[in-house]
């Protein structure tokens, strides 16, 4: 029995790691293929990398030793080819990146397949003792080695997410108004930021955005907190229908309501005003806020309210002294959501407030680049616009996690 178990479960960790490396080649080939096809060269090589990665991924096993050696060698060769081809026409970062992946995984494949543990296992020359020793060795070494490739893979995804942001930062700090990124740290300067900050327009838009976003948050909370509480604690006729219709509103894309909203705002005389946008934003954010808060209130035990009732609180006292203080994390999340929705919104702001002194930041940002192609100023401004968002997220991080996770799950 133990003979079976140890032999059946033992695979040298080198092979398990190799499997991860192959996956890395496959996953990295996909975005690289996309980038290279834009640059009109090397797709064939990348495709080959993709195929050989898939191949070795499929063929891991005792019987396919030669196949595995072959694909590893192929990946190594491909890496060298990529690098060589790049040197012919000037090396770009992406070439080094991709060939490094191939060379590392291919080299690792060849090295690990020729190591004594693996060749013993592949040759089937391990007894029970050998398999047991191998299992013990795996337990110690596997986490270390597997970690390297897992992290390499994850770093790739992080990098892909970070590129646009890094690009924007670079453009905003580089002299000149070009949108292409050279990444020359020695020339970095803050002139774009100062030129944006000196513009009166910018400050007008900032104040518009702040007023509208804060107004939206306050009005939204003022409406959503009592509504969520009522939906959570009371059963009234139309309870289910109203909850569902709140969801229903969320199901349609915002563009559908654009024209009707415009007509309503026009007839109310609320175009080119703060109030018009505040109204529109708080109404569109309301369904999410109400559901979110209802979910939280559901987790606050009714016992607490009853205890407070016996302690001498009326309905409002219970709400104010017990429920609200306990719900601060959920309220923070809801407030953040309303604020961000209003801060980032573009379409309604573009339609409703068409006079330049009533622009919000996103609209102002869009117009500033259509008037003159000043990419440096544009990048600096878009960074400035996102600073409040970043600050809010950092400040509310803790309650954000608490609020989001407890919203649905009973705590």
């Amino acid at each position: 029995m133990s003979e079976d178990l140890a032999s059946r479960w033992y695979t040298p960790f080198e092979l398990e790691v190799l499997q991860k490396a192959a996956l890395l080649v496959v996953l990295c080939s996909i975005p690289v293929l996309w980038v290279m096809s834009l640059r009109e060269n090397g797709e064939l090589l990348v495709l080959l990398g993709l195929v050989s990665g898939l191949l070795s991924f499929r063929t891991l096993g005792r019987e396919n030793r030669d196949m595995m050696m072959l694909t590893s060698a192929m990946i190594l060769l491909l890496g060298s080819l990529t690098l060589y081809q790049a040197t012919l026409r000037g090396v770009a970062a992406i070439d080094i990146w991709y060939s490094a992946i191939l060379i590392c995984s291919g080299g690792y494949g060849l090295w690990s397949l020729s190591s004594s543990h693996v060749s013993q296992w592949l040759g089937g020359r391990l007894g029970v003792k050998g398999a047991e020793r191998g299992l013990a060795r795996n337990r110690v070494l596997r986490p270390r080695w597997a970690g390297i490739f897992t992290h390499a893979l994850l770093l790739h995804f992080v990098f892909i997410v970070m590129v646009p942001i890094l690009w924007i930062i670079d453009v905003s700090m580089s002299p000149g108004q070009s949108a292409s990124s050279g990444l020359d740290l020695s020339t970095w300067t803050l002139t774009h930021f100062s030129s944006v900050l000196e513009k009166d327009d910018f400050w007008t838009w900032v104040s518009n955005s702040v007023i509208i976003s804060v107004g939206t948050t306050l009005l939204g909370l003022f409406l959503a907190i009592p509504a969520g509480y009522a939906f959570s604690r009371h059963r009234f006729s139309g309870h289910g229908v109203m909850m569902f219709s709140l969801l229903l509103v969320q199901m349609f894309p915002g563009v559908i309501i654009l024209v009707p909203y415009f007509m309503v705002m026009k007839s109310l005389g609320l175009l080119n005003s703060w109030l018009g946008l505040i109204l529109a934003y708080s109404v569109t954010a309301l369904p999410f806020c109400v559901w979110m808060l209802k979910g939280w209130f559901d987790t606050v035990p009714v016992d607490l309210e009853e205890a407070a009732a016996l302690d001498g609180c009326g309905q409002f006292g219970i709400f104010w002294r017990i429920i609200l203080p306990l719900s601060l994390p959920a309220i923070a999340v809801t407030a953040l959501f309303s604020f961000l929705a209003a801060w980032n919104e573009f379409l309604l702001a573009l339609m409703f407030n068409q006079s330049p002194d009533m622009y919000t930041l996103p609209v102002g940002l869009a117009f500033s680049i259509t008037q003159a192609q000043k990419w440096g100023d544009f990048a600096a401004m878009s960074l400035l616009v996102s600073i409040p968002v970043v600050i809010l997220f950092i400040v509310f991080q803790k309650s954000l996690i608490q609020g989001l996770s407890s919203g649905g799950v009973k705590g």
Partner: protein, 356 residues
Amino acid sequence: MVAVSFEGIGKVYDDGTTAVVGLDLAVEEGEFLVLVGPSGCGKSTTLRMLAGLEDVSEGVIRIGGAVVNDLPARARGLGMVFQSYALYPHMSVEDNLTFGLRMKPKAERPDSEELKKMVQETSSMLGIDDILEKRPRDLSGGQRQRVALGRALIRRPKVLLMDEPLSNLDAKLRNQMRLELRRLHDELGTTTIYVTHDQIEAMTLADRIAVMKDGVLQQHCPPLEAYHKPANPFVASFLGTPPMNLIEGNADGGVFSSGSLSISLPDHLSEIGGKGTFGIRPESVKVLKDGGVEANLSGVERLGSETIFHLEVEGIAIKALWHRSGEDAEDGESGDWPEGKMQISFNDPSAVWFAQ
């Protein structure tokens, strides 16, 4: 100290469920009443109606003679300990204790010095003076229980209500708190109404118990009276572990028969006749070496201080409880009975009869 009375109380929920039917119950000043019954018997609903957390569908509730049916909970001057303790998580223990006092109308609100004195008094009485600064989540179950009790007591409530307050504690702590609750009641003399499904709590705490079943009051009397003279088979089987043996059958001329079983009744029951239920507590079933009814032994539970015999007499399951005493105990524990057979006798002055 005030009296509480329920007069013809009924409760029907909005969905049509009937929880309590025609409840008449008078609680005297300073009495410790325990409402006991299986879950769903309406005991908690009764308590919640008194607290003002549920509307009364029918009848009148009086606290100290005044009808309180339509008073909001906060106006009734009651203190309540919840099963979940329901401590306010965002307040320190001290703030939890004083919350009710601080919510009083301005004229009755104690000033900060009085508040401090009251906290001091209550917390030292309950042994929680060293945790006043802590939050409820940092407390152990026993400490939370004490804080919940303190919060109810600090306002000197007219009536103290407790809804299964000990059920979230472990067995050892529960025993300890039970004694302490009784001691507190003897000290303070507050009229107390206590809901539980645990018959041991009911027996040990109560001045009088009220046994309920399906929303109907079954018996209201001192606990030992309910134990020895149960009003009906339900009360008889609900109180006591293991429960009373109940055998349905006919009595005639001092002889009780049920199926093929026929036994002579004890002297005090010799006058009865007709259909009914014969009841005898397991500890009153006499286990004899010979000279009784023959019973098959189907199982033995040895608990050390006592031994429970699971017997079968003419197809009827009977439990007998044998307390360890002297030399007899040796025999009982060795289980050395001839071929699993025993002789038992039902002739005991504590046996009861419920006529049908």
